[in-house]
């Protein structure tokens, strides 16, 4: 129980990084922390019902649940794709506005409309 409360705190820290921080790179840090937290939650839950790794050998019976591990393997690789794409978009934004602050980026991009 204490582990899952700590994971909830970790999730809220990542969420705080996304919605409160002004720096765009720190928003991507928050996104990475969110992704890792969800992976940890699934693997922690799946490891409750066994005591051995899911590689079959002789006389090793209660293995952990392999289904969450196979799903989270996909999630990690998709996570690095999201990170790379977000960083390239941030790089374009920095080249055209010269700042990382999300408010300044908005005021510079929509200067003509206001």
């Amino acid at each position: 129980m204490i582990d899952r409360i700590l994971l909830l705190i970790l999730f809220l820290i990542g969420f705080y990084g996304i919605i409160v921080k002004k720096n765009v790179i720190k928003k991507i840090f928050g996104l990475t922390i969110l992704n890792s937290t969800i992976v940890m939650l699934f693997v922690l839950e799946g490891s409750k019902i066994g005591s051995h790794v899911p590689i079959l050998e002789e006389n090793i019976t209660p293995i952990v649940d392999p289904v969450p591990q196979a799903l989270m393997l996909t999630a990690i690789v998709i996570g690095v794709c999201v990170t790379a794409l977000a960083l390239s978009i941030v790089y374009r934004l920095f080249n055209s506005t010269g700042t990382f602050d999300i408010d300044e980026i908005r005021s510079k991009l929509y200067k003509d409309e206001e």
Partner: protein, 251 residues
């Protein structure tokens, strides 16, 4: 916007918005994180009894994502392909910041810019790179019976190619950090992956079905084949992206 934020009333409103967002997320996620029901065991029991027999792989995780759920793996490789090409495209649209040969406007090639490199980094990364490549091949090809598989081995191979590219310093010295070679390896291995998935269509047992049934090749051969294709594709794609990004930066 910065002027408006100095207004006190709007600032209180902004903090209230953030507080409400936190409260909503916590209220939604609290039952999810604190759910104390028993984890179901029937999937584990079924896979433990039948997994090795049906797919041939002793590593049950590998038998799931290459045997039972192979569609997911194909979609994941497509997502990786789109992400790599989108990243390279977005950066090279303006960029002078990729390595020589990767930018759109100087695609004729040319000498890579001399980077600041120390002897320590050159020795460590250049000599450690081939060892990491061999370890990546081991992880990739033995994914059916030990921890590892296509994705893990591919990413380790990409790390090895990044090390070689950092250590030897440029496209003149080795062929692995050349832009065209990596892109061609990625394209060809993705084509081979799609062809390997379509073997079952020709023999009439379905898409992504295992065509090897023991004579002469045991069923685990299909897992090894798919692992090798996915590993080459993932490794070449991620190494392409990373080598392009590292090229013009003084690390």
């Amino acid at each position: 916007m910065a002027d408006r934020m100095k207004n006190n009333k709007i600032s209180i409103f902004y903090k209230l918005q953030i507080f409400l967002a936190f409260a909503a997320v916590a209220a939604v996620l609290l039952p999810v994180f604190l759910n104390d029901s028993h984890w179901p065991v029937f999937a584990r029991d079924y896979l433990e009894a039948n997994g090795e027999e049906q797919t041939g792989a002793a590593n049950i995780v590998s038998s799931i994502y290459l045997g039972y759920r192979a569609y997911d793996t194909l979609g994941e490789t497509i997502v990786l392909l789109v992400a790599v090409s989108g990243t390279i495209g977005i950066i090279s649209f303006t960029g002078k910041n990729l390595a020589t040969g990767y930018n759109e406007d100087d695609f004729e090639g040319g000498n890579r810019k001399n980077r600041k490199r120390t002897v320590l980094m050159e020795v460590v990364t250049g000599k450690l790179g081939p060892v990491i490549l061999i370890f990546g091949l081991y992880v990739m090809l033995f994914g059916h019976m030990s921890p590892g598989g296509g994705f893990q081995g591919g990413v380790v191979i990409a790390s090895g190619i990044i090390f070689i590219s950092l250590g030897t310093g440029g496209s003149e010295n080795n062929i692995l950090s050349h832009s065209g070679v990596l892109a061609k390896i990625e394209a060809v291995s993705f084509l081979l992956l799609v062809l390997a998935s379509a073997i079952g269509l020709i023999t009439g047992i379905g898409f992504f079905a295992n065509p090897f049934n023991g004579n002469p090749i045991p069923p685990v051969g299909y897992i090894i084949l798919l692992n090798a294709m996915i590993g080459l594709k993932v490794g070449a794609g991620i190494a392409y992206m990373s080598v392009a990004m590292l090229g013009d930066t003084d690390l």
